[in-house]
C-alpha cells in the first residue's frame, strides 16, 4: 500500500517543487513522511464509520477547541493507564535508573541475598529443644518419652476433659463410617455437609445467637473474620493486650487502629470520646467502628469487663468483636463463655469468635452473630471461601461436646473447683494474700488489697475463674532471654520433681506488635482429680521457690 503511494508521480513532483526552499538532505525524509500520512489517511478512510468520527472531531473542534484538547488528554491518559505496569514499583518511577544490559548483568552477578533461614540464636535453640513431644494420646496424663513416667498435663487446654471423652470417640467413629475423613472441598463447592449445618445451628442455639459460621482453624478465623468487615478507613478500637491472631486481622484490615490500655475501661471511654471528637471536628461521614477485645485474654488470662464494654459500645455506637477462643467452653455455668459468666445475652455482642479446638477439643473455630454477619463471611471472608471445610468428624464431635456441656453443668463446677484449689496453692507467692474469698464482685478481679506478702515471687493477673493461668515473675531479670531461661528452669524442675507438665508461653519475638512479657502458661482441666491438682500446685510452688528464691 505505502509503496504504491510512495512511487506515485504526483508525490515525487511535490517533493521536487519543494526542493527550492528546503535543504536537500531533508527531502527523502519529508517525502516518506508525507507518504506515511497518506497511507494512514487511506487506511482510516477504509474503516467503517470513519467519516462520522472525522465529522465529529471537526465539528467539535470548531465548536469548542478546548474540548478537543481535553479529549486528547483523556485519550493519552487512558492509553497510559492501559500500558502502565500492573503492580506498584513497576517501570519508570522517579527513582528509576536506566541501566545498560551489561550493567544489569553485572548487578545480577553481584547480587548476594541473605540466606533464607538465619542462624538460630541460643534462645532459639533452647526454644526448639524444649518443645515436648507427647508419646501416645494426649489428655490429662501424658508421657513425654516412649517409656518415661506419666505426667499430669497442665499444658494442653482441655477444660472439660473432652480430649479423652469416650462419647466423642464413639461419635467420631460413627461419623467416619458415614462421611469419611476429609471433605475434599471448600464449603462453596460441595464442601458444605449437613453436619456442618447442624454444628452451626447447635452453636448458634447454644450461645443464643441468630446464626454461626464454622471455619476450619481458629487462628485463621480470627485473622480473617475481622478484615471481612473492617476495611480501609474504618475505625477499630482494640485492647492493647489482644492476641496475635487479632493483631494479624487488624493488620490485614488496614483500618485506622486506636489502642486502649489493657483492661482499662476508663481509657477505653477516653479513646472512644477522642474518636467521637475528631469525627465531629472533621465533620466526616459515618464510618464503621468496631471494638475488638478478648473474653479471656490469651496473653495473660485476664477477663474483659463485658457489661461495661457493652454499655460503652451502645453509647458510642460501636460494634463489638469479641474473641472467645479461650473463654468459650471454659467460662460460665455451661461453658458458653463470658457472656454467660456476666449474664449478658450473646446477641448483644455483634460477633463472637470462638475456638472449637480449645473449648470443645475438636478443631476449627466459629463466628456467631446475626444472620447478616454470618452470611457475609461465607462469601467475603478469605479463610472461609478459600479453604477446605472442617473435617466431618470434628464438626459432629463439636455438636456432641455441646450436648455434653448443656446436659452436664457439673463439668464446669469441677473445673472451677480445680482452679480454686490450684490458685490457693500459688497465692502464697503472690504479692497480696487475699483477705476474702478469691472472687470479687461481679466476678471481676478483686482489687489488690489484703496483706502484703514479702515472700512474693510471682504475680498472676489471670482472672480467678479462668482455667488459663499465666504466671509472671515479680522481679524479672533485665532481658527477656534470661527471664525465659529461668522460666524454663521452673518448667523442667516441676516436671522432674512433681511429674507435672507445664509450659512457658511461646512468643514470636520481633513479630509481635507489643512484646508480651514471658510467663508460665497453665491450663487447668475439670477432668483432673482435686488431689492431683493440689499436688501439682504445691509442686509448682516449690519449683518456683527453688529456682527463683535462690536468686533474690
Amino acid at each position: 500500500m505505502s509503496a504504491v503511494q510512495f512511487h506515485s508521480p504526483t508525490m515525487i513532483a511535490t517533493a521536487r517543487s519543494a526542493s527550492t526552499e528546503i535543504p536537500a538532505p531533508l527531502i527523502p525524509l519529508l517525502s516518506s513522511l508525507t507518504a506515511l500520512i497518506y497511507t494512514i489517511e487511506n487506511l482510516f478512510n477504509r474503516l467503517p464509520g470513519s467519516p462520522i468520527i472525522l465529522r465529529y472531531i471537526k465539528s467539535s473542534y470548531q465548536d469548542d477547541p478546548w474540548r478537543s484538547v481535553l479529549e486528547l488528554f483523556l485519550l493519552a491518559f487512558a492509553l497510559r493507564t492501559l500500558f502502565k505496569g500492573r503492580t506498584r514499583g513497576e517501570g519508570e518511577g522517579k527513582s528509576f535508573i536506566k541501566l545498560t544490559e551489561k550493567e544489569i548483568d553485572e548487578l545480577v552477578e553481584d547480587f548476594n541475598p541473605l540466606p533464607l533461614a538465619d542462624e538460630p540464636t541460643p534462645a532459639d535453640s533452647m526454644t526448639l529443644e524444649t518443645v515436648p513431644t507427647i508419646y501416645g494420646p494426649n489428655g490429662i496424663k501424658v508421657k513425654t518419652s516412649p517409656n518415661g513416667k506419666t505426667l499430669l498435663n497442665l499444658a494442653t487446654p482441655n477444660w472439660c476433659g473432652f480430649v479423652e471423652n469416650d462419647k466423642m470417640k464413639e461419635v467420631a467413629i460413627e461419623t467416619l463410617k458415614r462421611y469419611g475423613v476429609g471433605t475434599c472441598g471448600p464449603s462453596g463447592f460441595y464442601g458444605t455437609i449437613d453436619i456442618h449445618q447442624k454444628a452451626e445451628a447447635d452453636i448458634a442455639s447454644f450461645l443464643g445467637t441468630e446464626a454461626s459460621i464454622i471455619y476450619s482453624q481458629a487462628f485463621a478465623l480470627v485473622s480473617s473474620a475481622i478484615p471481612a468487615f473492617a476495611k480501609r478507613g474504618d475505625i477499630i478500637v482494640a485492647d492493647r493486650g489482644v492476641n496475635f491472631g487479632i493483631h494479624k486481622g487488624l493488620q490485614i484490615s488496614r483500618s485506622n487502629i486506636k489502642w486502649y490500655a489493657h483492661g482499662d475501661m476508663k481509657d477505653l471511654e477516653r479513646v472512644l470520646q477522642n474518636v467521637e471528637r475528631e469525627r465531629k471536628r472533621k465533620g466526616g461521614k459515618l464510618t464503621k467502628t468496631f471494638i475488638v477485645a478478648e473474653g479471656i485474654f490469651e496473653n495473660d488470662g485476664m477477663i474483659l469487663d463485658l457489661p461495661k464494654v457493652i454499655e460503652l459500645k451502645k453509647k458510642y455506637k460501636y460494634r463489638l468483636i469479641l474473641d472467645e477462643c479461650q473463654s468459650f467452653g471454659m467460662m460460665g455455668a455451661h461453658g458458653r463463655g463470658i457472656t454467660e459468666h456476666f449474664g449478658v445475652p450473646a446477641s448483644e455482642v455483634d460477633m463472637i469468635l470462638g475456638s472449637m479446638a480449645n473449648g470443645l477439643a475438636t478443631g476449627g473455630g466459629f463466628c456467631a452473630g446475626s444472620q447478616v454477619v454470618c452470611q457475609h463471611q461465607r462469601i467475603n471472608s478469605s479463610a472461609s471461601v478459600f479453604s477446605a471445610s472442617l473435617p466431618a468428624m470434628l464438626a459432629t464431635c463439636a455438636s456432641a461436646a455441646i450436648d455434653i456441656l448443656k446436659s452436664q453443668p457439673q463439668l464446669m463446677n469441677s473445673l472451677q473447683v480445680n482452679i480454686q484449689v490450684f490458685r490457693q496453692q500459688l497465692s502464697k507467692l503472690e504479692p497480696f494474700i487475699p483477705t476474702t474469698s478469691a472472687s470479687g464482685e461481679n466476678g471481676l478481679m478483686p482489687p489488690p488489697n489484703g496483706i502484703p506478702n514479702k515472700d512474693a515471687l510471682i504475680s498472676i493477673p489471670s482472672h480467678a475463674n479462668s482455667g488459663l493461668i499465666h504466671i509472671f515473675l515479680l522481679n524479672p531479670p533485665d532481658n527477656l532471654e534470661d527471664e525465659e531461661i529461668i522460666l524454663q528452669q521452673i518448667v523442667d524442675e516441676v516436671q522432674q520433681s512433681s511429674n507435672v507438665l507445664i509450659t512457658r508461653s511461646r512468643r514470636l519475638r520481633s513479630q509481635e506488635i507489643f512484646e508480651p512479657e514471658p510467663s508460665l502458661k497453665i491450663s487447668i482441666s475439670g477432668f483432673m482429680s482435686k488431689k492431683d491438682v493440689e499436688a501439682a500446685g504445691k509442686g509448682l510452688r516449690h519449683a518456683i521457690v527453688k529456682v527463683c528464691g535462690s536468686e533474690f
Binding site: 541475598p113 533461614a117 518443645v131 480430649v163 475423613v181 471433605t183 460441595y190 458444605t192 487462628f219 492476641n243
Partner: protein, 718 residues
Amino acid sequence: MPRPTRKSASGGASTPPSSLSSSPPSRPSYPAISLRSSSPSSSSSGGKEMPNSNVLSARTSLLNVLTRPNHSTPSTNIISSENNSSDEDTIYSDQSTLSGSSYASSIINGSIVDKQHLSSEDIARVYENYLEKPFVYTKSTIKHSEFGHCNNPNWRWTSQWNPDEPIHPEEEPHPPYFTLLTTYISYILLIVIGHMRDFFGKRFRPAEYAHLMPQNGYAALNSDFDSFYTRRLKQRLEDCFARPVTGVAGRTIVCYDRSSNDENKTFTLTGTTTRALNVSSYNYLGFASSTGGCADAVEACIKKYGVSGAGPRHDASTLDLHVQTENLVARFVGQESAMVVSMGYATNSTTIPALVGKGCLVISDEFNHASIRFGVRLSGASLRSFKHNDVNDLERILRDVISQGQPRTHRPWKKILLIVEGLYSMEGSLVNLPLLIELKRKYKFYLYVDEAHSIGAMGPNGRGVCDYFGVDPREVDILMGTFTKSFGAAGGYVAGSKAIMDRLRLRSHATCYAESVSPVLLTQIISSMGSIMGVAPPLATPAEEDKSDSLSIVSRPQAYGPAPSYILPAWMKLPLNLLNGTEGRERLRRLAFNSRYLSSGLRKLGFIVYGHRDSPIIPLLIYNPGKMPWFSQLMLDRLGPDKTPVVVVVVAYPATPLITSRVRFCLSASHTKNDIDLILRACDEVGDLLGMKYGKQTMNVEEIISSAEELVASSKFD
C-alpha cells in the same frame, strides 16, 4: 471366580499394558487416531434435533461400551454364582481380555440384547444403579459409590513430563468475538439492572436493605458497593454454589435437593436427595472414603488418640504422630525436613511471614491463590507479580528489581522469594519448573512452590511437579502442599532443608498460636501417603508383579523410595495392598488416564479447555454468565437417556477474570472410564444445547469414547 484376572491380561509381554507402563521415552507411538463407526450427522446436531439425536448418540454409545463386536462369544465369563446372587441387574464387564479390542459384552436380564433394539428405556434401566453397583464384582472392600471399580489395565497412564509435549499451549484458545461481545453485554445488563433495583429497592423496601444503610447512628455493616457483585450477580447463580451434601465426597456425592421462592435469598430443602457423579471435589487419588484400609487405620486412631489436636504445637500438643507424619512427608516430597499445619490456607498465610519481611521482595504469579496473597500482605515484604506462567515477563522483572534494588533507597533486596503454584487450581496449567530452576541459578532468588493441587496428583510417583518434570526436589527451597486434596485429610505442610524448617518452627505463627493437627487427620495422612510410597521393609513385593515394571517400588529412584516401616506408628495395621504400594500406584495411573482422557476428549468435542493435558483439573470455558446456572442444572437434570446426574463446579469472577467464567472438572482416581465416558456424553449434549462448543469439533462423542486409549497416548496437544 472364573474370570480372567489381571495377571492373565498383562501376562503377554507385547500387550499394551506393560508397554504403557514403561517410561515415556519408550512409549509406543500409536498410529494416527483411527475413527471407527463415524456418524457425521451427530456431530453437527443442532439444538432442535436434540431429543432424537441424544437417544441416537446414547444408543450408539452404549453399543460401544456394552456390545463390542464379539460380544456373543462369552470370553468374559461373568455370569458366575456370585454375580447371580449379588444382583439381577445388568452385568457387563469392563475387563480386558486377551482379544484386546473386545472388552465388553452386555447382558440385560440374562439375555444378550440385540444392539438394534436398545431403546432409551433399556439404557435407563442399565444405568439405573450405575452410581452404586459396579458392573463387575471385584474383591475391593471400598464401596463402588466412593471409589469406582475399574480393572481394565488399558485405562491407565503415567503422569510424566514428555519433553515433546509443550508445557503450555502456544497460544490460548480464543472464543469467537460474538461470544465475547455477548458476555460483555450480559455483564453490562446485569450491572445496570442491579443498580436500578438497588435504587428503587432502597426507597420502597428499606427493610431488605437495612444492612446496607446507616441506621441508629451505626454505619452500614456492608458497603453496598462492595457487596454489589454478591447481591446482584452471584445471587442469580446461587443455586450452583454451596449445595448441601451428605456422606463421602468420593466418586459420587449425595446432594440435598433444594428450592428457593425468594430469588435465591434463602433455600428450603425439599427433603429428597440426589446421588450424583462427583467431578467437583478435590479427591485426586480417591482417598476420601468411609471404608478401606485407611478408614480402618483412622478408626484405630480414634480409639487410641481421640479426635483432638488440642492446643498449639509448642504448648505440649506435639504428639509422636506429628513427628512421624513430618518425617514421612519429608521423605515423600524428597526434602530434608517438613512441618505440618492444621489448615491448608493457614499453611501459606502463616509460613510466608516467617520467611520474608521488610526489605525482602516477593515475586508472585498473578494467579496465585488467595492464601499466598494473604501471607505476603502479612509479611510486610514488597510484592511484584508477573504474568501467569510467563517466564519472559518474570525474567524482565527479575532484571529490573535486582538492578534497581529497593524503591527509593536502591539498596539491594535482602531476599527475593519467588512464589508459584505447581498446578493452578482455576487454570489447570502447570508451572514451567525446569525453566524456573535455570532462572533461579542465574538470579539467585529463593523458590517457593505451592503444590496444593499437584502433590499426589502429578508425577509418576505422585510426588508433585518435581517428580513430574524429573527435577531434584532439593533444587526448590520450599515445597508447600495440602493434605485436603490428594490424601483425603485436611491441613497442609511445608518442606525444605532442616535449617529453614527450624526457622519456620520458631517463627511461623501456626506453631505458637494455632491449634495442632488432629491425630485423626495425621493417621489419614500417614496411611494414604504410606500407601502411595509403599512401605519397606518388610518390602512385600507383590508376587505376580512384573519386575521389569519401572514403577514398581523396588525400582524407583532413590529420592522417591518407599517409606521405611519404622516411620509408621507401630499400632497402625495396613492391609497388604496398601503396604506394598500397588494400590497407590493403581490410583496414580488411573488418575493420569482419566485426566488425559477427559481433557483430550473435551478438546475434540470442540470445547475451549484450558490447562495441561496431564492436569486433573480441567477448566471448560463458558464465557456467558447466563449459561453458568444452565450448565450446572443440565448436568444435574440430565437430558440424555442414561439420566445419571453429574455435579460440577462453575466458577466466575472474582475467582477468574470477568469474562472467562468456566466450569471446572476435578477428576479423581476413583472415576472409572465409564464415568468419564458419561461426563463426555453429558458435556456433549449440554454443549450442543447451550452452544458452548466455541472451538472446532473434530470428533463426535462416540468416536472419542471408542478411541480413548489412542487419544490418551497421542502426544498432540489438541
